[in-house]
């Protein structure tokens, strides 16, 4: 038998479906945002891990070479040595597919005979013939990839390699069995190793050698020794996982940022739950009193309220997980786009709801609901039968406590600031401080609201007479309810404003930086597989043709490389031959310009970007041990330059130094300076006309390159925009819920007004005016809070995540937008209660008296 308390609960919830739905939706949205983001990010990371693991197979170690790779001869030596571990050669590179559709594919050239162990097994429908792989000189694709591209066996794939177009015939299709196989082979072009070498023009070179070392320690040690003894100075031996870990760690900051945005949505959700539960408890004060009077214990009342909250939490969390799953699909494209733009190529075929994410969703959804319900439950528990007649008790309690709450807020704020200062470089603590700051502001809301309303009342009176004053005072007379709504709305708004300011500042800084960093008039580069980094090179003959073109006066040469450091790690770098005008494009944050450039060319010196300097703790005079063809060599850091092109950071070495160190003299990009008075666009067109058919080099004017860079930038922040929007929606729901609660509670008061002769239109105006006042106040609080949030995001979070110095730029547009958003959402939120109240029959409303 259901207890009388439970039946009372059920009956109440049944009679107030709108409240119930709002609360459930609030929790659901908060959970959905967290689940959506986590799932998209986790699925991306998982796809990356699966494919790396599947593609590196049972390899325990790998041998990697310098920029030119590992010589074939080293593999042969290892393969013929019975004491060396099992080994397999690999040629791997991201390729830009240009036909039948533009897409980035991962070329994987393998030796099927070294891919061991071979096992007899029934050949599945998707099997393909290894000897045919060797014989066909063709490409093999996974079935899903081939179908997406509309390719059938015998069709042609065209790739852009360096500045040329090269073709492969689709020789076969593999139907991967099982998820890891699907992840591994998604967007992979599998070829024989000979085919891969010829396609890339790297005959005699391997990307790496995979090694499978023995399990037992002594043999393993002996095998490692054996391999080390054969390594030329240009090669290193490293654990197979180290590269994947390094790549994965690149996106950690990015993922943390996404996650923090998700929590923000949930935070707003907590306010919503708090609001609903408070309202639900307050509405039933007389019921609690009666129940207590007939013998229900305090504990029973407390448990009843908590059970209600739990039911809402469960429903909300369940819906939220489902909703989050849908949201993840929508976010996935944005997340992978950003990762592909900035970090590495990954193709996610499967979204996976991990137990981790599920547990997190449950903990957050239920936890948030219970926290939101805690105070209302305590309130209900404390209700004495006598107090039931006193509707204003919680309000007066809050009103007398606004000062104390604000003081607590100030304390929390101080704590947040102290945490910001003390947390060093910890990103997580930075976020924690940010959340504390937001919470502290929430504590200050009741006091600020009281003060704000006092200021607003005359203003409202001026506009709306008595009705205006009634509307403004309505906010303070229901302070417990309205301050929650204001806090929720202002936190959500300040978060969106903060993000807006961050993106604006970032974009402004990048635009200014691009203006100086792109010194040359025209840029020639090979089409890149990554938007931000390109390992492809231009054909020497093409370079000559461009340099000798009419109108070109001089050129800076760039080659994107990776420096292998003695500790086994790598640093992106550019080997450059700069004209003086290009040199001035590098704004030095450290180091003296004249001294830097006089010691740059032909010497073992380098410049490091701000991000790299911060990441590795480098400063002028420090040294990096770089492995060169002549063995390890110390490179001195001459200076630190400002850069926003890579959050991993990169270095600048002189081309002559690099050519001497590596024997590599190819070029991956040209910066052309035109003769005076030359029309840039006409010259670009002329240069493009000089490209032979099949050559795919990109010729772009400075302006076009700037636009392309900003396009990538905007794509990167597309996720942010979506999340801002979601936080806004949750906030809007919060305001609707709060207003509804306030108005319902005011039914009798409004009924009196109606009985005294106020028209329904007047009543609508009062309600709308009141919600307008809430919007106005929330907007007013959101502005300083938004700026504070932006400052924390820019100066703390961004600096700790990416190591960039951004110039803070507070556009009035963002502030105006925020304020407008506050008013609009408050107005929208007020519409339903206003219409509802206007229909109120005075007699019904007054019946309770």
């Amino acid at each position: 038998m259901i207890s009388i308390l439970a039946r009372a609960s059920l009956r109440y919830l049944r009679r107030h479906p709108a409240q119930l739905v709002l609360a459930v939706v609030g929790v659901a949205l908060g959970v959905a945002v967290v689940v959506g983001i986590e799932t998209a990010a986790a699925s991306t990371a998982r796809a990356f891990r699966l494919s790396t693991r599947a593609l590196s197979g049972s390899a325990t170690h790998v041998v990697r070479g310098d920029a030119r790779g590992v010589p074939d001869a080293l593999y042969v030596e290892l393969a013929l040595d019975p004491l060396a571990p099992k080994s397999a050669p690999v040629v791997q590179r991201s390729l830009a597919l240009i036909a039948p559709a533009p897409r980035t594919l991962d070329l994987l050239g393998v030796d099927p005979f070294a891919e061991r162990p071979f096992r007899a097994s029934s050949v599945s429908s998707g099997a393909f013939d290894g000897a045919a792989l060797v014989r066909s000189a063709g490409a093999w694709l996974a079935g899903p990839t081939a179908r997406e591209l509309g390719l059938e066996v015998g069709d042609e794939l065209a790739f852009s390699i360096g500045s040329e177009t090269r073709r492969l015939v689709l020789a076969g299709v593999i139907e991967p069995q099982g998820e890891s196989a699907r992840a591994a082979l998604a967007d992979v072009v599998l070829t024989d190793i000979a085919t891969a070498q010829e396609l890339l023009g790297v005959e005699g070179r391997l990307s790496r050698i995979d090694l499978a070392l023995a399990d037992d320690a002594p043999t393993r040690a002996a095998q490692l020794e054996r391999v080390r003894a054969k390594l030329p100075p240009t090669c290193v031996l490293e654990p197979a996982s180290s590269r994947a870990e390094a790549v994965e760690s690149m996106t950690r900051a990015f993922e943390l940022n996404l996650r923090a945005l998700g929590f923000l949505a949930l935070l707003v959700g907590v306010f919503l739950v708090y609001n609903t539960m408070t309202f639900a408890v307050v509405q039933r004060r007389s019921l609690w009193g009666t129940l207590r009077a007939v013998g229900a214990t305090r504990g029973e009342v407390f448990r009843t309220v908590c059970s209600e909250a739990l039911a809402i939490g469960c429903a909300g969390t369940a819906c939220g997980i489902g909703l989050g799953w849908l949201l993840a699909h929508a976010l996935l494209g944005l997340v992978t786009q950003t990762i592909n733009d900035l970090y590495y190529v990954v193709s996610v075929r499967e979204l996976v709801l991990t137990p981790m994410v599920l547990a997190e969703a449950l903990a957050l959804g239920l936890g948030a609901t219970l926290i939101g319900a805690l105070f209302p439950a305590l309130d209900a528990m404390r209700t004495t039968p006598r107090a039931t007649l006193d509707r204003a008790a919680p309000e007066s309690r809050l009103r007398s406590n606004t000062g104390r709450l604000a003081l607590a807020g100030a304390g929390l704020c101080a704590l947040a600031l102290a945490l910001l200062r003390a947390s060093g470089t910890s990103l997580a603590l930075g976020f924690a401080a940010l959340f504390l700051l937001l919470l502290s502001s929430a504590l200050a809301v009741p006091l600020s609201t009281t003060l704000g309303c006092r200021a607003l009342a005359p203003l409202f009176g001026l506009v709306g007479g008595n009705l205006g004053r009634i509307a403004a005072r309505g906010v303070t007379s229901h302070l417990a309810r309205s301050s929650v709504a204001i806090a929720a709305l202002s936190i959500a708004l300040s978060a969106t404003a903060g993000m807006g300011i961050l993106v604006d500042s970032f974009r402004g800084t990048v635009v200014r930086w691009l203006g100086t960093a792109l010194a040359a008039d025209v840029y020639v580069s090979s089409p890149s597989s990554f938007s931000n980094r390109d390992s492809a090179v231009l054909a020497p003959e093409l370079v000559q043709r461009m340099l000798s073109a009419e109108g070109v006066s001089e050129a800076s040469l760039f080659r994107d490389i990776e420096l292998d450091l003695a500790d086994g790690s790598r640093v992106f770098a550019s080997a450059v031959d700069l004209r003086p005008r290009s040199r001035s494009a590098y704004t030095l944050l450290e180091g003296d310009s004249a001294r830097v450039w006089s010691r740059f060319d032909g010497q073992p010196t380098l410049l490091v970007s701000e991000a790299l300097a911060r990441k590795r703790g480098l400063g002028v005079g420090d040294e990096l041990q770089v492995r060169t063809a002549q063995g390890p060599r110390a490179f001195e850091v001459l200076g630190v330059f400002r850069d926003y092109s890579s959050d991993q950071g990169w270095a600048l070495v002189s081309r002559s130094t690099w050519v001497a160190a590596s024997g590599e003299d190819r070029v991956s990009a040209l910066g052309l300076f035109l003769e005076e008075q030359r029309d840039v666009d006409a010259t670009v067109a002329a240069l493009r006309a000089r490209l032979a058919s099949g050559e795919t080099a990109r010729v772009r004017s400075k302006r076009e390159l700037e636009n392309a860079s900003l396009e990538v930038f905007d794509r990167t922040f597309a996720v942010t925009r979506v999340l801002r929007l979601l936080a806004g929606v949750v906030a809007l729901l919060g305001v609707i819920g709060a207003l509804l609660a306030i108005e319902l509670e005011r039914e009798r008061e409004l009924g009196v007004l109606r009985a005294l002769g106020l028209s329904p239109a007047g009543l609508r105006a009062v309600v709308l005016g009141q919600s307008g006042a809430i919007g106005l106040l929330a907007g007013a609080f959101a502005l300083p809070l938004g700026v504070a949030t932006a400052l924390v995001l820019i100066l703390v979070i961004n600096a700790r995540s990416f190591g960039w110095t951004l110039e803070v730029e507070i556009a009035p547009r963002v502030l105006a937008e925020t304020f407008a958003l506050a008013l609009v959402s408050a107005f929208v939120a007020g519409l339903y209660p206003a219409l509802r109240m206007a229909r109120l029959s005075p007699a019904a409303a007054l019946r309770g008296e």
Binding site: D72, P112, F113, A114, D129, A131, L190
Partner: protein, 375 residues
């Protein structure tokens, strides 16, 4: 006579299976049985003058060939072992591929290495695949050498010594082989002066010769212990272009060295309908060295017992009665190590056997090898 196995050279890199995280190679045997050979390859149409050492080396104009060592060994305490080390070459095409990468290869090599410890009923088998490029695998005539990665056979087959080396993990074999007779080895040409027919159609044949006895000694490392071993090896050599004929499903091959110095090789081609193909044949070598070709009606082979493999569940014959009435030869053959199945890319049974024989009234015994395919 191991046409089945060369088929294994056409590998299949199958899509990953759930249990294996990486793309694995598997073999598509059935498909290859019907793979027609490129008509530009040379075929074994008629007997030709075999010449040594020339014919020990590779025959690039034929699509397929192999070098096959099997041996029965014992350590100083009389504990018996068996080994198999074989190298297969298969051409992927008639012409070398046109590309510029040094990895381009015309030939692919496969090698099998197996060791049996008869007393302990232990049997291990390994395989290697490699392309004939970059010195990773190959076959050379002078000096004679065939290798696949770090496994190799090299030396002078007629005068000795020949050195065999193969290892995988804990198992390592290093042997030196010498001809039995002082001077030079007895090379036995099978079929018609070395032309061994495998089917009714002309060209479905191979060139096939053996050296039945090569005295063998060396070291075998098994489970951390190095053992000195000695015994005798049988060398088989065959090259061809033809594939199996329709209807043929596999074969049973017997190679026995009797202690009176005689030797017997038999192969039985089995057909789908359970009958024996008329192309089945054999060779009997008298102790005086005289060689006699045997046709299907010259001998009878009856299976006396069978054995189901623990690992694969495949059922193989394990005991046979063989009669060759023309030479009054009757023998009972027993598998010494019934679990000698090579569960590799292609699955087959190849293991040591012993035989008790009666030649008229004289009794003798034999050691040797049996190969069973297509089960």
């Amino acid at each position: 006579m191991r046409a089945f196995i060369f088929i294994a050279l056409t590998l299949s890199l199958a899509a990953c299976r759930e249990d294996a995280q990486t793309p694995r190679a598997t073999l598509d045997v059935g498909e290859l049985l019907s793979a027609p050979a490129d008509p530009r390859f040379e075929r074994a149409l008629e007997p030709r003058e075999l010449e040594f050492p020339r014919d020990h080396g590779p025959h690039a104009s034929f699509q397929t060939e192999w070098w096959y060592f099997t041996g029965n060994l014992a350590d100083d305490e009389g504990r018996e072992f068996s080994y198999q080390l074989t190298f297969f070459r298969r051409a992927l095409g008639v012409l070398p591929p046109p590309g510029t990468s040094p990895w381009n290869a015309r030939d692919v090599f496969m090698a099998h290495f197996a060791v049996g410890d008869i007393a302990r009923e232990r049997f291990v088998a390994f395989e290697r695949f490699e392309r004939g490029a970059l010195g990773l695998a190959g076959a050379e005539t002078t000096p004679w050498r065939v290798w696949t990665r770090d496994w190799s056979a090299a030396g002078d087959l007629e005068h000795g010594p020949v050195r065999l080396a193969a290892s995988d993990g804990e198992v390592e074999l290093s042997l030196t082989l010498h001809p039995a007779a002082a001077g030079s080895a007895d090379i036995v040409l099978h079929g018609e002066r070395g032309l061994s027919r495998k089917g009714a159609h002309a060209g479905n044949a191979s060139y096939y010769y053996s050296i039945p006895t090569l005295l063998t000694e060396g070291t075998l490392r098994l489970g951390g212990r190095a053992l000195r071993v000695r015994g005798a090896s049988w060398f088989d050599r065959e090259w061809s272009t033809s594939a199996l004929e329709a209807g043929q499903v596999g074969w049973d091959w017997f190679a026995l060295r009797f202690d009176d110095g005689s030797a017997l090789m038999l192969y039985l081609m089995r057909r789908e309908d359970g009958t024996r193909d008329t192309a089945s044949s054999g060779t009997f070598v008298e102790s005086d060295g005289s060689v006699h070709a045997l046709r299907l009606d010259d001998f009878a082979v009856d299976v006396r017992a069978r054995r189901r493999m623990e690992r694969s569940g495949t059922d193989y014959p394990a005991r046979w009665s063989v009669r060759v009435p023309r030479f009054e030869l009757e023998c009972e053959i027993d598998a010494l190590l019934p679990e000698s199945e090579l569960a590799l890319a292609v699955r087959y049974w190849e293991g040591p056997v012993r035989a008790t024989a009666k030649r008229g009234a004289r009794e003798s015994s034999a050691r040797g090898f049996v190969e069973l395919t297509g089960y």
